[in-house]
């Protein structure tokens, strides 16, 4: 069971990373984005970008993200996204 959870988590991070690289880091090397990089500090995503990111996560992982949940602790790095989405999926 623990192994399956781990595989799911890797899937979340990879899918989110692919989305970010394809949509916001056009042309850049995916290795340029590390798991702990702050999207805010690195200037990777703008105000509308974060909304696109949220829409993608909602559709891709079938979760509902509330307005009050749009905070850096949940969204501002690949690691934060992974932990947040995992928690949401666990309900």
């Amino acid at each position: 069971m623990a192994q399956i959870d781990e595989l799911n988590k890797i899937g979340i991070k990879e899918k989110m990373k692919t989305f970010i690289v394809n949509n916001f880091l056009l042309g850049a090397n995916a290795d340029d984005l590390s798991d702990n990089d702050s999207f805010l500090e690195k200037g990777i995503i703008d105000s509308t970008g974060i909304l696109e990111l949220v829409s993608f996560a909602q559709e891709e992982f079938d979760i509902k993200i509330e307005d009050a949940e749009l905070v850096p602790d949940n969204l501002d790095s690949l690691n934060n996204l992974e932990a947040f989405i995992t928690k949401k999926k666990q309900g």
Partner: protein
């Protein structure tokens, strides 16, 4: 009054009062005054002389404010550089205003250094990462500072705005331009030393700079928070820091209303909010007022060429005159003129023109552009409007063909010039199309020469050559572009097109 005296006076009157809060950093007026003295001495020691330009390539921060006043205290001219710019964009500005020094930080130094490599003249980079330890970075106090190096009419600040030709124009503002506008804003917003403004607008734009100058002049506090990407975080900061004021453009209010938990926050200290930077939908103003009915909502209008502000709508009249940008601010004469420069009749459309001590000296090294807008002692704004029977102004059309996305005015020509550098592109047209959050988003129509190129390749090219807010959100390939009878691209018809 000279701008550096705003800080000196407040430091004398309120030395221990907080001037700036930026996350964990807090600067008192005494400390800010001292830090800016150090920056001024550092600049003089590096060879900066009166009238020299000094670029500021930083995000909003304690360092920005220390450097802003330091540059002015050295008698030099502040050139606020858009901190989102890539090297190519920066190079254009640096070649135009030839600053002697560029003050930046580690985050931005690579772009600044790359831009300088291609510049036509040498400039020094001063990397300033932490104002609180700035004494380690500069030569110790050496008595180099003159107490009053400038006259009221001396050039103090250059702010670049997007020109309709695609080339940014440097708006030259004197000490008295900025001082007059600050006095006026302080008066109508009734700012006092007890005020605390939430600053999310960049200081390199005139709206943001007016927050800086007015609050320092009155001895109030600025709470800087660059995290509006996460609006709830900014709202939490507003509660924690007990801010009394907030300033934003329509997209900020759209995000607060539609994409934040604004309704769940209690903001008992919030006294007023201001909105400028383009028309905000009446429905959104009403919705915001329903959420925060006790907060005064100031609709304002202005231009960088006017040191920021030209008119405001007194919140008392908001229900009755909603949709209007109000009347002239104190000290400004504002009128709606016809083609003979005569005031139009009630209800008729004309061009907004302004007079006052706040009107710019002109555009930097662009006398022809200056002569086009400064005529017969009026600033001609290019904005079309009508007046009602009570003298309230209603804007009907903003400057033509500029895209207004979020807080930014964007020249379509600049985007088109960049995309047309691609060998496969015959021609293209950038237009603003309505966007629920940003007001307008950029759509690019592209005509190819028959060779294959993908949307992604164009996006990558834009990303390498344009700041993020100038990059198209949507690309459409077309066989041809609609043209006027004189052969110019007819953007108006494209912006109304969905196909």
């Amino acid at each position: 009054m000279r701008i550096y005296d705003f800080l000196r006076n407040s430091a004398r009157n309120y030395p221990d009062r907080i001037a700036v809060v930026c996350r964990e950093q807090r600067l008192t007026y005494r400390r800010l005054d001292w830090l800016s003295d150090l920056v001024a001495e550092g600049l003089i020691a590096k060879g900066v002389k009166k009238g020299d330009r000094v670029g500021l390539f930083l995000d909003n921060s304690c360092e920005y404010i220390s450097a802003y006043f330091g540059i002015l205290k050295a008698g030099a001219v502040v050139v606020g550089l858009n901190s989102q710019y890539v090297a190519r964009e920066l190079e254009v500005l640096l070649n135009d205003c030839s600053p002697k020094i560029i003050i930046t930080d580690s985050k931005h130094s690579a772009a600044a250094g790359e831009a300088l490599k291609s510049c036509c003249y040498p400039a020094q980079l001063w990397i300033m990462d932490n104002a609180l330890t700035a004494e380690d970075d500069v030569i110790q106090r050496a008595g180099l500072l003159e107490s009053d190096p400038c006259a009221d009419d001396d050039l103090a600040v250059i702010i670049y705005t997007s020109g309709t030709t695609g080339k940014p124009k440097g708006v030259m503002l004197s000490h008295s331009n900025i001082s007059a506008n600050a006095d006026s804003i302080i008066e109508y917003l009734q700012l006092t030393p007890q005020d605390r403004i939430m600053v999310i607008l960049p200081f390199y734009y005139s709206y943001g700079m007016s927050l800086l100058t007015t609050h320092i002049k009155v001895g109030a506090a600025m709470v800087i928070d660059n995290r509006f990407l996460y609006p709830n975080t900014v709202l939490e900061s507003m509660v924690k820091e007990e801010v009394t004021g907030f300033a934003g453009v329509p997209s900020h209010y759209n995000i607060l209303i539609k994409k934040s938990a604004l309704r769940e926050f209690i903001l008992p200290k919030l006294r007023y909010v201001t909105q400028a930077g383009g028309a905000m939908a009446v429905a959104m103003i009403k919705e915001f007022r329903e959420i925060l009915p006790d907060v005064k909502f100031y609709v304002m209008y202005g231009q960088t060429e006017a040191a920021a502000r030209l008119s405001y709508l007194d919140p008392l009249y908001l229900p009755e005159k909603i949709g209007s940008v109000g009347k002239a601010i104190p000290g400004v004469k504002l009128d709606v003129l016809d083609e003979n420069n005569l005031p139009v009749d009630v209800g008729e459309i004309g061009e907004i023109a302004a007079r006052g001590e706040n009107i710019m000296l002109g555009y930097w090294k662009a006398p022809e552009e200056t002569a086009r807008v400064l005529r017969d002692q009026w600033l001609f704004t290019g904005d079309l409007a009508r007046k009602d029977e009570d003298g309230f102004i209603y804007i009907v059309s903003r400057k033509k063909e500029m895209i207004k996305s979020g807080a930014n005015r964007i020249s379509p020509l600049e985007i088109e010039d960049v995309v047309c550098q691609m060998a496969e592109v015959v021609e293209c047209a950038a237009v603003g199309v309505p966007d629920e959050i940003l007001g307008e988003m950029i759509r690019l129509y592209v005509v190819l020469n028959g060779k294959k190129i993908t949307e992604r390749e164009i996006m990558i090219h834009c990303r390498n050559n344009l700041a993020g807010y100038k990059q198209p959100k949507e690309i459409r390939f077309v066989d041809g572009l609609p043209k006027t009878s004189t052969g110019k691209i007819c953007r108006l018809s494209l912006s109304g097109t969905n196909n």
